[in-house]
């Protein structure tokens, strides 16, 4: 297996650039910067939010010039008392729900539901306000459960609606709506604390990324990814006085069906970051030279939708300038070992094993384990990578560079390699 690092600046080299490829720009006329946007389940609506405290919902219409598709404003309203930094559509699909969650630095998450008819000029009605202790940095609905025909093979219980919100105090909170018919009632299911609490509890400036696993058929029930930053100084193992003064891991949480608690089951990278950084220094000769550790804060994580692959993919965006793609292979104890022919980035590591910090002491009632491999690492952005986002079937990854201001696409192609699939520029 070869994973090709990409150094291509070709403008959309992968996608065929034709007249078919439309490039539309519209200005949502927010009073300030747009902080987040979200598509709905079908991709026919777009929600935008901004520092101007407004949410705008757009609908894709085909009455544009030349019959082209354009975004038409469907509704807009002042939703919060401070900058809105995150929106997420919920429901959709078979659920029949049309929900929207918004996260604001005014320390609240609000859940909105669309009405069939406008009341007082508004289609979206406030259903619930979920207060948090500090400003909310992001919100995301859990993906809709698998369709009914599949649910027989998955867990029988219907989880209701869930959403997660990351706040400036470093805590990711999972809220649950027990009765989706009444989306005004939300219960805090759990708080996922940070590995190391931020020094100033109110001042978590970095993003606190998290992502739901979008695959209802993934093994070991539903999964959630959350990234935690910490500096090695907070750890007992701190022998590196190099520039790696910051390291971060992603934790994968799994919902324990018995205790109904989210418990961390795996880490990315899957060993202690200190070991990783030291091993990197020692293995300069490594041809791939994958930087398996996040040398700086993780700014975003994304779990790829899995359409039939036998493994899962998780992408991370780091402030150290790298987009990383992790391959997670579920191995049940009875299953045969994964073929040793695949080169593992962990091969060069010293055999010293140190328990990951605050490793879960509770045994997870799952019958398998994730094997974690770093399969791709791209440094093309040349600066912090702010966001990663998978396409619908998990074959193209879009990464957003904070420094170069570009969206780069990475495409899964034949022969197990990832190639650059293009660049999206603002103009």
């Amino acid at each position: 297996m070869t994973w090709v690092p990409i150094c291509s600046n070709n403008y959309l080299s992968g996608f065929r650039e034709t007249e078919m490829m439309r490039h539309r720009t519209f200005v949502p006329e927010h009073g300030d910067l747009v902080h987040d946007l979200a598509y709905d389940y079908y991709g026919t609506r777009l929600a935008t939010c901004s520092s101007d405290q407004k949410i705008k919902v757009w609908e894709l219409t085909t009455d544009g010039p030349g019959g082209g598709e354009t975004w038409t404003l469907s509704d807009q309203w002042k939703a919060h008392d401070y900058s809105i930094v995150g929106v997420s559509f919920g429901g959709g699909g078979g659920t029949g729900l049309r929900l929207l969650a918004s996260a604001s630095l005014d320390r609240s998450v609000k859940v909105w539901e669309e009405q069939d008819h406008e009341t007082a000029g508004r289609r979206w009605k406030l259903r619930a306000t979920l207060a948090t202790a500090s400003g909310v940095l992001g919100v995301s609905f859990a993906p809709a459960p698998a369709s009914a025909s599949a649910s027989a093979s998955v867990a029988a219980q219907s989880p209701g609606l869930r959403l997660a919100a990351a706040a400036q105090d470093g805590v990711v909170r999972v809220f649950e709506c027990p009765d989706p018919a009444a989306p005004s009632v939300w219960v805090l299911q759990q708080e996922l604390p940070p590995l190391v609490p931020p020094k100033q509890p109110h001042a978590l400036a970095l993003a606190l990324p998290f992502a739901w696993c979008p695959n209802p058929r993934a093994p070991s029930s539903t999964l959630l990814v959350a990234a935690s930053h910490y500096s090695p100084s907070a750890l007992p193992l701190n022998n590196n006085n190099n520039n790696n003064n910051f390291a971060a891991v992603v934790r994968i949480y799994s919902l324990n069906q018995v205790s109904n608690q989210w418990l961390p089951v795996e880490y990315l990278p899957d060993t202690d970051p200190d070991l990783d950084s030291s091993s990197n220094n020692n293995s300069k000769s490594n041809k791939n030279n994958f930087n398996t550790a996040h040398n700086d804060a993780i700014l975003d994580v994304a779990w790829a939708p899995n359409m039939g692959r036998s493994y899962e993919l998780v992408a991370t965006a780091s402030r150290d300038g790298n987009v990383r793609i992790w391959k997670l292979t579920w191995s049940s104890p009875s299953a045969t070992k994964v073929s040793s022919a695949t080169p593992s980035p962990h091969n060069d590591r010293p055999s010293l094993t140190v328990a990951a910090p605050s490793a879960p002491a509770i045994a997870i009632t799952t019958t398998g384990k994730w094997l974690v491999q770093l399969v791709a690492c791209f440094a093309d952005h040349g600066g912090p990578v702010a966001r990663v986002e998978w396409n619908l079937i998990g074959t193209v990854l879009a990464s957003c560079g904070a420094q170069d201001g570009k969206v780069r696409l990475w495409k899964y192609s034949y022969a197990d390699s990832w190639t650059s699939a293009g660049i999206l520029n603002p103009e």
């Binding site: 080299s13 996608f15 065929r16 007249e19 490829m21 490039h23 539309r24 519209f26 200005v27 300030d32 910067l33 902080h35 946007l37 598509y39 709905d40 389940y41 991709g43 026919t44 777009l46 008392d81 401070y82 699909g93 078979g94 029949g96 729900l97 005014d106 320390r107 609240s108 619930a128 306000t129 979920l130 400003g135 009914a148 025909s149 009765d179 018919a181 009444a182 005004s184 009632v185 805090l188 400036a205 359409m307 039939g308 036998s310 702010a386 966001r387 986002e389 619908l392 074959t395 560079g401 904070a402 170069d404 969206v407 696409l409 899964y412 034949y414 999206l424 520029n425 603002p426 103009e427």
Partner: protein
């Protein structure tokens, strides 16, 4: 000195424009008009049009300031005054402050609309014929001293001037620009003041930074007694500037420092945030802040320019509210109690939440505005300017922030006036659309959507993205079309997939996929050849066949050369051949095995030759098409005849091949037993050739020769490009039973490892299926491997379903009961259905469901009734699946007996709400009254959930034309339990049968709003 002025963004046609004032130490001072082109003036068209535009700033000189040489500072008035004139004040080294104006009242300055000055030129005002008119002038009374800074108050009525300290003269003077008097309104004496800034919202207060010591706040609401208010002791007192979005927040920096401080008026002890423009590029030089400014249009954006002009840093801040020590107590949500009457009882707080020590409700009565927000650094962007940083200037480089669709930072060299621009890159936020290959990204305030639509391109180098292919194929009708002989309507439709893949070349592998489909078709059409021991092996794979055969009757079929004498016959045919002796030895050495299952397997591989005549035909055809290597391989593999192989090579025109043939033949002549006692040199030669030759068939031959004629060793050597069918066929011919069993397992592992080149991989999917089958775990593994390699789960799913269906069908013909399908394939089916729904390809989804249900139904009906089940467990499983599926897809309609319209089961049973728009094109099933009975468990009260689902489904069917719920039907709320019960009864009674039934509904009385009459009873229309 560079100042930009842009009032409201004067955007028209992608161009932003405004005015700019410049003052350089040698180039004089002037007023400019600037334009920023965001989009190309002429849209570029054509298939390969690329937008290469970078926002381009252009300047044109409006006029120069007459007293240019000594201008020290420039400022615009913050708003154009009532007459639409723009004022610009110049502060001179002499202490003179001149306010110039342009606009309608000053027609002697023509403002050209044609801006053609290239930005690359330095800002040189000397050549301008136009001299800016001075509308009013102020001069500091007393000693002559340089004016260092100017600032207009928010309403432009006051002009604050900062003067150099000379003797005891006042340094801060406030002029009234509206008065005719040039005397200052206020005079203040502040030692070493270095910077000034008005508070934008309180007109008569301003800040003054005192160099290295403090920042003072002045209040001149009463000009006679100017109030020097609070002073903040800090050495970061340069460049004070107030956030125009937050009057209480301002920023400053220190002399010879890289740090920037942000202050809050309510908390002046310490800066609320300290920022740093960071280390310089070269270590020898430290980077100092030269200027800072708040972004005029974006909240919480501050930028700082380096003094040497080498870089600028843009900071995005977040405002964070401090964590409250006391969480507000839980209170019932105001919003939830007001908006939802049905949920009022559930909106009250569950007590369990307090155990979490956490409030989930709204902020009780806490007003968020009263909390002091703390700015937190969110993003930092460093913009490097390629200026010549060697210039050592006393004056710092000037920076300005140009807001546009794409924001720019403009930098001017204070010495020569050279202007450079760099775009501010907003961190994009990209999201994929679920509905199509759209990627939408927000850049700052604009949003770009790019559609990566599928395009059929001839000879394109690039590969199409698989998700596009999948969607396009679904639209084009790539579906579950299989050859079920029991359903004539579907007969031969497998050809449509093949035709589709051949007609539209979706990707390079389209042809390979078509071959795989053809393979399925062939296996199906010739399935009677593959029956062994009463079991159908057409789709089970050779591995299963061999395992079954050898497990049942070990070695019973193993009889060497019996009944299979293609090679032996050849020996006689060629008795006159020169190599007769060798030939005989070879033929006997390569002893063949033959048995019934081997024959069947050879037939599956399409490598079975009845007699020499048939083989000779094949060889001749290969030779005719120029495949001499392959012909040689075939001759050796399937007739054990080296002689014939050499003949094939000799007949080629290629000297190399003939040379090879000559080598072998001369070698064979010289030795009696060629393969056993071959000299080392020959073996080495063979090894070399086996590694270096291109043709896989020749390589196999030489591998065989180098391995002393051992087929077993030869087969275990992986030879890339050698067809799996041949590998299997050779094993079937030359390996004994135990070797064969062992080898076939090795081969399976090798194939499923997915390494291309070793015979497995994407390019040979049909051969993988040949070996592994398509039904059971091995088959699913093969398909899984294909998905892992290509992501094309659509083809894998359709192949898997087709294979299983075809297998069930052909098995049924020989009386066997086996509907074998791997669970993974069914999982892919669910995924694919969900995906089609998400793409709103309901028609395609429905077609898939129909095809799949017809297959399973046929299978069930026929097997259940015609033949006794052999495996009870298996049958029951399939039966359950079938039943489950059928329940999902059964539809029950209620329609009016009078008008024939479907009846809404709304509260009043009104039919009036139905119009033709509610009818769905697939037979009027949807949007109205189809009932999913399987979703309603008996005895369960229908609650809010289903009611809500119905609403949702109804809406989607209205605008999407099809439901998104399961099957091809939407839901309804059976509020009438009696109707509900009746529907359920009919549902149960009709399982297993097909057709449309009309059933009268009992005990119901409906009103037909179309006919305005009561009609008993309503009617079921059951479609199964």
């Amino acid at each position: 000195m560079l100042r930009f002025y842009c009032s409201e963004e004067q955007s028209k046609g992608g161009t932003t424009e405004g005015f700019a004032a410049t003052a350089t130490s040698n180039g004089g001072a002037g007023l400019w008009r600037w334009q920023l082109h965001n989009t190309p003036p002429v849209p570029v068209s054509g298939p390969l049009a690329r937008r290469t535009t970078k926002p381009e700033l252009s300047l044109s000189l409006v006029g120069r300031f007459s007293d240019a040489a000594s201008v020290r500072c420039v400022t615009f008035s913050d708003s154009t005054n009532r007459s639409g004139n723009l004022r610009c004040a110049f502060g001179l080294a002499t202490g003179r402050v001149a306010v110039t104006a342009i606009g309608s009242e000053y027609p002697n300055i023509a403002i050209s609309n044609n801006i053609n000055t290239s930005l690359n030129a330095n800002v040189n005002t000397a050549n301008s014929p136009n001299i800016l008119p001075v509308v009013c002038e102020f001069a500091a009374p007393g000693s002559s001293r340089a004016c260092l800074a100017l600032a207009h108050s928010a309403d432009s009525s006051l002009l604050l001037a900062l003067y150099a300290k000379v003797r005891a003269e006042p340094t801060l003077l406030v002029y009234d620009t509206s008065s005719t008097s040039s005397a200052p309104l206020v005079q203040l004496s502040v030692e070493n003041a270095s910077s000034i800034a008005w508070f934008p919202n309180s007109h008569k207060t301003f800040l003054a930074g005192v160099s290295g010591k403090q920042i003072k706040i002045f209040d001149i609401r009463d000009p006679s007694t100017p109030n020097s208010g609070a002073a903040i002791a800090t050495r970061f007192s340069n460049g004070v500037c107030v956030d125009s979005f937050d009057d209480r927040r301002f920023a400053s920096f220190g002399i010879e420092s890289s740090a920037v401080s942000i202050w809050d008026l309510r908390k002046t002890n310490d800066p609320v945030l300290s920022l740093d423009i960071g280390p310089a590029q070269s270590k020898s030089q430290k980077l100092f802040v030269g200027s800072i400014e708040w972004c005029p249009i974006h909240k919480d954006v501050l930028f700082a320019g380096a003094k040497d002009g080498s870089c600028a840093v843009v900071w995005n801040l977040y405002s964070a509210h401090p964590t409250l020590p006391n969480i507000p107590p839980f209170a019932p949500s105001r919003s939830s109690s007001t908006n939802s009457n049905s949920n009022s009882e559930t909106a009250s707080s569950p007590p369990s939440r307090s155990q979490l020590g956490y409030s989930l409700s709204v902020f009780g009565d806490i007003d968020i505005g009263t909390l002091t927000a703390v700015p937190v650094l969110h993003k930092e962007q460093r913009i490097t300017f390629n200026n010549n940083t060697n210039i050592i200037t006393s004056a710092p480089a000037s920076f300005a922030y140009l807001p546009a669709t794409l924001d720019l930072i403009v930098c001017m060299d204070p010495e020569n006036g050279k202007i450079t621009t760099q775009a501010v890159n907003f961190q994009p936020i990209a999201k994929w659309s679920a509905g199509g290959p759209d990627l939408t990204a927000a850049f700052g305030r604009s949003i770009v959507t790019k559609t990566f639509a599928y395009s059929e391109f001839e000879n394109s180098d690039s590969e199409e993205e698989i998700s596009n292919i999948i969607k396009q194929r679904a639209i084009d009708g790539y579906m579950l079309d299989i050859l079920i002989r029991l359903v004539p309507i579907y007969f031969g439709k497998i050809k449509s997939n093949i035709a589709l893949l051949q007609r539209k070349k979706y990707e390079d592998s389209s042809n390979l996929l078509a071959q795989t489909w053809k393979f399925l078709q062939t296996m199906n059409q010739t399935s009677e050849l593959f029956v062994f021991n009463g079991k159908q092996y057409a789709f089970s794979g050779i591995v299963i066949l061999i395992q079954d055969a050898l497990a049942d009757q070990a070695d019973a079929y193993d009889s060497q050369t019996a009944g299979y004498a293609v090679g032996d016959a050849r020996t006689e045919d060629y008795t006159q051949n020169n190599f007769q002796t060798n030939q005989t030895i070879l033929a006997s050495y390569f002893s063949t095995h033959s048995s019934e299952f081997r024959t069947i397997a050879l037939k599956m591989c399409n490598r079975f030759f009845v007699d020499d005549f048939q083989l000779e035909q094949k060889l001749t055809s290969l030779e005719k098409s120029g495949d001499f290597e392959e012909a040689a391989g075939f001759a050796l593999f399937y007739s054990s005849s080296l002689t014939r192989a050499l003949q094939s090579l000799n007949s080629s025109k290629d000297d190399k091949l003939r040379l090879i043939a000559a080598t072998i033949s001369s070698h064979l002549k010289s030795t009696i037993s060629p393969v056993n006692t071959a000299p080392d040199t020959f073996i080495t030669l063979c090894q070399d050739l086996s590694n270096s030759l291109k043709s896989p068939h020749l390589r196999v031959i030489f591998t065989l020769l180098s391995n002393a004629g051992s087929w077993k060793k030869t087969l275990l050597t992986e030879i890339s490009g050698f067809p799996i069918a041949d590998t299997v066929a050779i094993a079937l011919r030359y390996l004994n039973d135990s070797e064969l069993l062992e080898f076939i397992k090795v081969l399976k592992t090798r194939i499923l490892s997915g390494k291309s080149g070793s015979g497995g991989g994407v390019e040979n999917l049909n051969e993988v299926i040949l070996v592994c089958g398509i039904l059971e775990a091995d088959g699913a593994d093969a398909l899984q491997m294909y998905i892992n390699a290509t992501g094309d789960f659509q083809s894998a799913l359709l192949l898997g379903l087709s294979g299983a269906s075809l297998s069930a069908n052909v098995s049924h013909q020989i009386g066997a009961v086996a509907f074998v399908i791997d669970e993974r394939v069914l999982g892919w089916l669910d995924m694919y259905r969900d995906l089609l729904d998400q793409w709103q390809l309901y028609h395609e989804r429905a077609n898939l469901d129909i095809a799949w249900s017809k297959i399973t139904r046929n299978y069930i009906v026929n097997v259940c009734l015609d033949s006794p089940p052999t495996s009870a467990a298996e049958l029951s499983r399939v039966h359950m699946e079938h039943r489950q599926q059928q329940q999902q897809q059964s539809q029950i309609h209620i329609r009016c007996n009078f008008c024939g319209m479907p009846i809404s089961q709304s509260n009043n049973m009104s039919a009036s709400s139905f119009s033709s728009s509610n009818l769905n094109p697939y037979g009027g099933l949807v949007g109205s009254i189809a009932a999913n009975i399987s979703g309603v468990t008996p005895g369960k009260k229908i609650g809010n959930i289903s009611a809500r689902n119905i609403n949702g489904a109804g809406i989607r069917s209205a605008d999407g034309g099809a439901p998104a719920s399961d099957g091809m039907l939407s839901l309804l709320s059976p509020r009438n339990s009696k109707i509900d019960q009746q529907m359920r009864d009919y549902q149960d009674s009709t399982v297993g049968s097909r057709g449309v039934r009309h059933v009268d509904m009992e005990d119901t009385l409906c009103t037909c709003m179309n006919g305005f009459r009561h009609i008993p009873p309503a009617q079921f229309l059951v479609v199964i």
